[in-house]
């Protein structure tokens, strides 16, 4: 198994280096396909050879300690950030990158950095296993999807100077960074992988290199580097603690004193990475990147690195004031981004807000630190990676066919792009309809919050219930848009035929994955997530969810029946009637005479809470509220301890 993990980290790096020099699509595409398949197989093999599920610790072959090599990579990345920032006249990013490198150099040169335990560099347990499968299967599917997406993207934007060799190279380097991150046990090594993902995200957001996208890329870089700086400070605090840099030993149980301060700083890093408020704006800006980037980095995997770290820290935060504050950062974020999402018309941004909200729920679960909530957190990670990854890819496919991300233009989608609509429905259902995992997990979360000592659980349940009702509202709106029907011409229907087979293959696989994982939720809970939650916390869980297979089957059948019916009905043709209103037409358009001589224009559109909720204002309020909690959290960790 250890050699397979080495393969998972090294192989994508090699592929990335090869793809960088290949500019011909006809050579690039087979390499991407074969490499993706190899990584997928290797990740499954890793899990198969994992054995009985007990955590495994191991080092590099020959007992090599990567100390100097890590420093060299850090120096190279810092130099790159400094150069690219100064070329683009940005000053904040290089300052933070240099500060972070300064900490590492200081520790290394003054001999304060303890020697890493050569046999415990890596840590593979059931949580790593879940993440490896997500990166190895969902991540590679998204890479394959990008072949088709990027071709159409460049075809319809002929004047954007493409660099697809760089694009695909970055995707694979990113996969290597993610694999490394989720199996790291040594914190300085984890930080290097952490920064690799930050750098890939920055470069992919800025792919088109317009002023606009460069601005968003630097925003993402700044916020993630700030988190990296927190990570670096945590390492500095831990460097003189016995076993401090060994993540498994650090998080074996509740901590206090300096260790808690370091955990608070690490949690801060996790919160920036998972785009929780006050750092949510970077993820919204990241939506200007091509859709496969959004699916891979900003939904399925990279932002999950943040919640992965928080789940790792969960036993250490358990019961502490820091943990409770982490929870409230997550829940406040969930509530406010759900409010904003209900007012948003750009579908990709709705998906982004929804992503931040789902991550907020996981952060909320991680902060409390009970086995039940860790179970919920991992379940949301799995289902969200599948369903949201799928939705981002589907929206990308629609965008390349209809040239729009506006939810209002998605109406009658089931008539125009029927098969794509079914894929979209699978993703939407996965996000908010029972018995799909996220709803099951939310229900389990409400039950687990009830058990939180001291009564804070009531506030958490209220926030969750209110936020979840908003998610129901915005997913419902999108669902209705997709499901509305009209007659379409044969030519209009033919545009679905232009979708590439790469997109059909990958989106179909993800849709099947949503269903398959839902159908096997009982097995996943009993064999993987449940044992993980038990072993991470010394106390056994009292109320892990017991899922009734028969009930699950009935609900799944009911959910599957509707889209199939819709698909069948959608091919009929309709007599379209003109709209009827009881007013007097005041011109030839859709303006009607109203009472007292006024006039009203008739529109048929969704309700975005116009005039009721100001989305931008809510975003600011949430940012301020969450920011205040975050400051209190770090202060509690550093000062109060």
């Amino acid at each position: 198994m250890t050699s397979l993990i080495a393969f998972l980290i090294a192989f994508p790096l090699v592929v990335g280096a090869i793809l960088l020099v290949i500019t011909r699509a006809s050579i690039r595409n087979p390499i991407v396909l074969v490499s993706a398949a190899a990584i997928g197989v290797a990740s499954i093999a890793t899990v198969v050879t994992f054995g009985n599920g007990d955590a495994v610790f191991f080092g590099l072959p020959g007992g090599i300690v990567p100390g100097q090599a890590l420093l060299a990579v850090e120096i190279a990345m810092t130099a790159f950030i400094v150069v690219i920032s100064l070329v683009n006249r940005r000053i904040l990013a290089p300052i933070m990158a240099v500060a972070q490198l300064g900490i590492a150099l200081f520790l290394e040169l003054t001999g304060r950095m303890p020697e890493a335990d050569a046999g415990r560099l890596f840590w593979f347990d059931r949580l790593s296993m879940v993440m490896v499968l997500i990166i190895g299967l969902i991540g590679t599917l998204i890479c394959v999807n990008a072949i088709g997406y990027m071709r159409d993207y460049h075809r319809s934007n002929p004047m954007i100077k493409g660099r697809r060799n760089v694009f695909f190279s970055l995707l694979f380097v990113f996969l290597a960074g993610m694999f490394g991150l989720v199996v790291s046990n040594n914190l300085p090594m984890m930080l290097v992988f952490w920064e690799i993902t930050t750098l890939c995200s920055f470069l992919l957001i800025g792919y088109t290199r317009t002023e606009e996208t460069l601005g968003y890329a630097f925003k993402a870089l700044n916020m993630n580097l700030l988190g990296g700086l927190g990570f670096g400070l945590a390492i500095a605090l831990l460097s003189n603690q016995p076993n401090g840099l060994d993540l498994a030993k650090l998080t074996a149980g509740p901590v206090s004193g300096t260790l808690l301060a370091a955990v608070a700083l690490l949690a801060f890093a996790g919160i920036t990475k998972s785009a929780q408020m006050p750092f949510s704006s970077w993820l919204i800006g990241a939506m200007y990147a091509p859709s496969p980037t959004s699916a891979l980095l900003h939904s399925s995997t990279m932002v999950k690195a943040g919640v992965f770290l928080l789940l790792r820290l969960s036993p250490a935060m358990s019961g502490s004031a820091v943990g409770y504050m982490v929870t409230f950062v997550g829940l406040v974020t969930f509530l406010f981004v759900s409010l904003v999402a209900a007012t948003e018309q750009n579908t990709k941004k709705v998906l982004a807000y929804s992503t931040i909200g789902s991550l907020g729920l996981i952060v909320g679960c991680a902060g409390i630190g009970t086995p039940e909530l860790a179970w919920v957190g991992v379940m949301i990670i799995i289902f969200h990676a599948l369903a949201k990854g799928l939705l981002f890819l589907v929206v990308g496919t629609i965008e390349n066919r209809l040239y729009t991300k506006d939810m209002e233009n998605f109406d009658t989608l089931i008539s125009r792009l029927p098969r794509v609509s079914v894929l979209a429905l699978a993703g939407i259902a996965g996000m908010f309809i029972a018995p799909f995992g996220i709803v099951v997990a939310k229900w389990a979360a409400i039950r687990a919050f009830l058990l939180v000592p001291g009564g804070q659980g009531a506030a958490m349940i209220v926030i969750m219930a209110f936020g979840s009702s908003l998610t129901l509202f915005y997913w419902g709106k999108l669902l209705i848009k997709v499901l509305s029907m009209r007659s379409v011409s044969a030519y209009e229907r033919s545009i679905e035929g232009r979708i590439s087979r790469y997109e059909w293959l990958t989106e179909g696989a993800l849709a099947v994955g949503v269903l398959a994982v839902t159908a096997s939720i009982g097995i996943i809970s009993d064999r993987v997530v449940g044992p993980y939650a038990l072993s991470a916390f010394s106390a056994g869980p009292q109320t892990l969810l017991n899922i009734e297979p028969a009930m699950l089957a009935v609900m799944l059948a009911a959910v599957l029946f509707l889209p199939l019916l819709a698909l069948r009905v959608s091919s009929r043709s309709y007599d379209e009637a003109d709209f009827y209103t009881s007013g007097r037409g005041s011109n030839a358009g859709h303006v009607m005479g109203a009472a007292l001589g006024g006039s009203r224009s008739v529109t048929l559109r969704n309700y975005y809470l116009d005039g009721v909720i100001n989305g931008a204002l809510m975003f600011r309020v949430g940012t301020v509220a969450s920011g205040a909690i975050l400051v209190a959290m770090v202060a509690t960790g550093l000062v109060v301890r």
Binding site: R151, H154, P158, M159, R401, Y403
Partner: protein, 129 residues
């Protein structure tokens, strides 16, 4: 607002797009051949041109796009076309390049809803974004 030139030989498309662009305050002129389009652009430079690729009974729209881009590099061109139906796989493969295969800002396959057209035109006009 802005002055938009529509080049299309399908009267239904011209009528719909003209109405949509006029509704948000643009002035619109419509022509149906490359010769008329060339003449119209040289007579009074529009702020943007929305053109079909299949003109004059062939692929003349593509040549028009290239010559307009050559003569007026700052003029935003949007191509709305049904050319894809007539392209061979080989021709499609030639468009699979990292940009630069045609000097237009946006290349959109019909049908394109008027909402999308309005958004694209607004997005590409000088001064916007």
């Amino acid at each position: 607002m802005a002055h938009i030139l529509l080049v299309d030989d399908d009267p239904v498309v011209v009528a719909n797009n003209t109405a949509a662009l006029k509704a948000i305050g643009h002035t619109v002129a419509a022509v149906s051949t490359t010769a008329e389009a060339s003449a119209a652009v040289h007579l009074a430079l529009p702020d943007a041109v929305v053109m079909e690729g299949m003109l004059d009974g062939a692929f003349a729209g593509f040549d028009l796009a290239r010559s307009l881009a050559h003569d007026f590099p700052a003029l935003p061109l949007i191509m709305l076309t049904r050319a894809d139906e007539h392209l061979t796989p080989r021709e499609l493969a030639e468009q699979d390049r990292d940009g630069g295969w045609l000097p237009v800002r946006r290349y959109l396959e019909k049908p394109v809803s008027t909402d999308v057209l309005v958004y694209e035109v607004d997005h590409l006009l000088p001064g916007a974004h």
